[in-house]
Symmetry: D2
Subunit: 338 residues, 4 copies
Amino acid sequence: MIIVMKRYATQDDIQNVIDKIREMGYDYQISYGGENTLIFVIGSEKELGKEKFIFLKNVDNVIQVAKPYKLASREFKSDNTIIDVNGIKIGGEEVLIIAGPCSIESEEQLMLSAEIVKNSGIKFLRGGAFKPRTSPYSFQGLGESGLRLLAKAREKTGLNIVTEVMDTSEVNLVAEYADILQVGARNMQNTKLLQMLGKINKPVLLKRSFSATLNEFLLSAEYILSSGNENVILCERGIRTFVEYTRNTLDLNIVPAIKQISHLPIIVDPSHGTGKSDYVIPMSRAAIAAGADGLLVEIHPNPANASSDGEQSLTPESLIRLMSEVKGIASSVGRKIL
Amino acid sequence: MIIVMKRYATQDDIQNVIDKIREMGYDYQISYGGENTLIFVIGSEKELGKEKFIFLKNVDNVIQVAKPYKLASREFKSDNTIIDVNGIKIGGEEVLIIAGPCSIESEEQLMLSAEIVKNSGIKFLRGGAFKPRTSPYSFQGLGESGLRLLAKAREKTGLNIVTEVMDTSEVNLVAEYADILQVGARNMQNTKLLQMLGKINKPVLLKRSFSATLNEFLLSAEYILSSGNENVILCERGIRTFVEYTRNTLDLNIVPAIKQISHLPIIVDPSHGTGKSDYVIPMSRAAIAAGADGLLVEIHPNPANASSDGEQSLTPESLIRLMSEVKGIASSVGRKIL
Amino acid sequence: MIIVMKRYATQDDIQNVIDKIREMGYDYQISYGGENTLIFVIGSEKELGKEKFIFLKNVDNVIQVAKPYKLASREFKSDNTIIDVNGIKIGGEEVLIIAGPCSIESEEQLMLSAEIVKNSGIKFLRGGAFKPRTSPYSFQGLGESGLRLLAKAREKTGLNIVTEVMDTSEVNLVAEYADILQVGARNMQNTKLLQMLGKINKPVLLKRSFSATLNEFLLSAEYILSSGNENVILCERGIRTFVEYTRNTLDLNIVPAIKQISHLPIIVDPSHGTGKSDYVIPMSRAAIAAGADGLLVEIHPNPANASSDGEQSLTPESLIRLMSEVKGIASSVGRKIL
Amino acid sequence: MIIVMKRYATQDDIQNVIDKIREMGYDYQISYGGENTLIFVIGSEKELGKEKFIFLKNVDNVIQVAKPYKLASREFKSDNTIIDVNGIKIGGEEVLIIAGPCSIESEEQLMLSAEIVKNSGIKFLRGGAFKPRTSPYSFQGLGESGLRLLAKAREKTGLNIVTEVMDTSEVNLVAEYADILQVGARNMQNTKLLQMLGKINKPVLLKRSFSATLNEFLLSAEYILSSGNENVILCERGIRTFVEYTRNTLDLNIVPAIKQISHLPIIVDPSHGTGKSDYVIPMSRAAIAAGADGLLVEIHPNPANASSDGEQSLTPESLIRLMSEVKGIASSVGRKIL
């Protein structure tokens, strides 16, 4: 930890900081030569605490340099994490595609969707049974009966199932049905939920919240990792900015940033990220070109009749086009489609 | 709902939209005179659904004009909601002040804080027992034993208690101890939690999330209201922007906006909103001047030793200064301090 | 233009709006059936003016549906604009690459850079002679002598020259030397400069400002177009958001958005957009995959000694890698590198 | 400057950094004790340059601690700058109010506005002759004939004149007519304009751009100060965020931040800051309560007929209410209205 003194700090002000450091039992080094006097405190930043020094007289700033996450960091584990779901490897050479409807609406709609997904060569089906909706008057999902429909779709098609869990009281229930449990953007900092997901033995797909910094995103992953579950897949799904032509601003820059800093796989959701079906295919190509490990896309047999998010869902025909275009990009970056 | 056609839409494109409206059983009106042809569909926007029309050929946009919230709206209830907590009125002429430490750390720290709060003439004590922290390695709060300390502080000082609830599994427990239950910014869209809080008979203090629009904020309140609890206090606590000199950007503009649109009381948290104790007093004055119904401020007997958020906590001396300065502002806007 | 009445607006309030419309000499249509009464005013929105109606009693909102730009719109010109620079076509099948140093520092540095650019198969050299720097104490560019060095580099290598113009007083001077004149993000709304650039006969590369919406960006292009210059190339270079791992947030979503709405070519600057040389190659791949018409990248013979923006400049070796990787992506989206 | 090594940096990596520092002729200190090895380079950060070190192997980060502005800083000049305009003091005990129409539309409109302003007890009239409009099709101002009308208004009423300058070619012209020259948000980083304004002997009112950080804002002021003009008045006028209920997000937090860091006066423009006349009075009260040195507000004899920004202009009646309410707040913070 580095304590930056104000330019006009006196020798007494500096001594005051030093006394505090000694009182706490730590060692320090001091550097007088620059524009501001700097005092390095030697010890764990977590234990030291910024607030111990920021109030002292003529302290300008307290800089913490250690990264706050550990298990999620590439400094902790240099090799990419590869997650195995029923024999399929996520985070390796192959690109993961997950597709399906935003909400499960009926058996017919889900089965039709599952067929479309399977026929496009995709191995993972998504579908929401518990839905976190902005308005209490919007469709809130079919709940447990939706989960049973997902199980039926898996049985029929062999697809793996990805579905959202919203509350600690539902973790065990959802874990019975899902192959991958999804945490939505609104729950990225629901720390009780994250801790409980750290105790199950199924992979967790953790979506970035609308306003999460990279540090906050990795610290949410760290909640799961440090509770005992190593299988976390990160998912970029758009951040909140002033921009008006997309529902959110899909931030692909986080893909190379995560790849540099963390060993965890990261996939991209261009459906929520843009909110417009017209932009899903170009931004899917861009995501894979940027180095993403996969895509999460919304499809619907008939988007105009969807109970939620129809505006951003692909038609069956567009899904076929997506797969063909993404295959080209994947191969030009040395990967293939799962 | 208004369907805006592209400028070069043909008569066939328009007919196509009309056919869809009729097929759904709705009436419409059409306006040809402007730069774009407009088609107005007569009926509830919620039932109509934007996605039914946005995909039709040469539709440029679908505009929904109805406000998505009802119970939270001043159109529904024109008089200000006044909430009674043990005989004290919130949302009326008097300005509510809630003060206390971010986290409850020990009996001594809480009792000392409670004395400071009481001696400043304040009637509400805040203190966190369950803490939603960004990092799993940060202090997570004392949990239930923290709640018991709050009860003890109430017994000793007569102060009313405000404390956070983070998970559905803790609602009943927290409701036993608190006079007002707080929902933190990270849980503003934890819809299961909101629904459960709609079923208790204690007021809920709902903090705005980092990236919530006004619509989203009021829709979260609507979850509580529509589940049966009318006593919701809104709280602005800073939004996420590019700005670097404050931890968050305290957005006081929402105060007159809420006052215009909703009947619910709104208070301001300048401690989290700015993240710097030096800015808490000026921004508290500004909040009351803007028309806020109260303040939520963090204090600590010794901020330099706080377990969390010490950097933004007021000292006992600053709290006295705050109260004195805020009283002047309150009286110049025709209010008084509770 | 659509006037939305408040739900509780009376018949008198509505009549009041109608009287105003008639007084102004316009026709209208009224729709009573929905949750809010709507009044369509028939006529040009530009002439009508939102402020005429927003103050009338119980008017909730005034919605303008016409797009504010015309010449920049695909509704005005459906075919892509192809710009010819000395026989090279921009905006067509071929992808434009512009590379060079942020600032021109010396003859040696510029000639070395020009060789590197030429040897990578690139046909456009960028280099700043007039530099808009955040601090008055930063290097402000070589000015006119920098322009002369650019001319020398062109003579020696045959490369086309792209350089920035910052002030109306320098437009003619820069136009003498440049093949494409660049307007920087900070000047995107310098309307006097835009108008003067509309009067020259060289293409203009218009960079998006840090906080420009799509409407504002296209309206700045419209200033140039409506002043008589049809050759405008748009450039995305990152927007300002809360994100901390990139210097700006490169917003690739604008690429498909512009392609849908406008006929103008759009290129991407991943160097300023991310501010980190490590992210330039992945984000360049992503830009082309998203459908961008080209790239603007910063290179330096020795980035560690650059006078400005060294942190985001590519080395000569990385430029070769960039070209090879981008070629693969371009071919998989049916394009080739210029 | 502090160089932070990665945790797994080797002794060779550290030696490599040291060699570079020595080669550049600087001294250093090294601290091994913390989680990351830190190397402090002793010397001016401006000369050192971050890019010299960021590319070296296993360097994690390079931290610069010196503030980039000097003349604008309170460390350079601890007393508040008081600016004298024809005997009136700005930045002292008295609060400055500037009011007037957004655009000068006609002699009648301006004279009427001037009367309203004068009759409210205000001493400064604003009015735009050169207007930076987003669209080329919007009213661009009366230009020089507008300036002559301002001179006439001054002659008639004795009011001081504040008006905008947009381009270097107009600085001398505008300086002939104005008592204070305004730089608009869109030109905050038009560095050629700022440098020229540093050479005149009239005060400059510098508006914060939509996306300026505090550092950028003060560095723009520094351009003027370092060119020789000490009389700079800062103006907060709203930043760009995701928020939808105001045109911009008026960021009052910058008021205490500037007061702490700089000696320059800062005023607030709630008209552009909120974009809604209903919010101007509450946010004006809040601005003064937060410690602002003044207000810049838009008024119009008849806002519904304004050529620009009618939606945010106060009526003559509201201006009287504003003055009365702001007087109360000013007196409760120990100031009075100018």
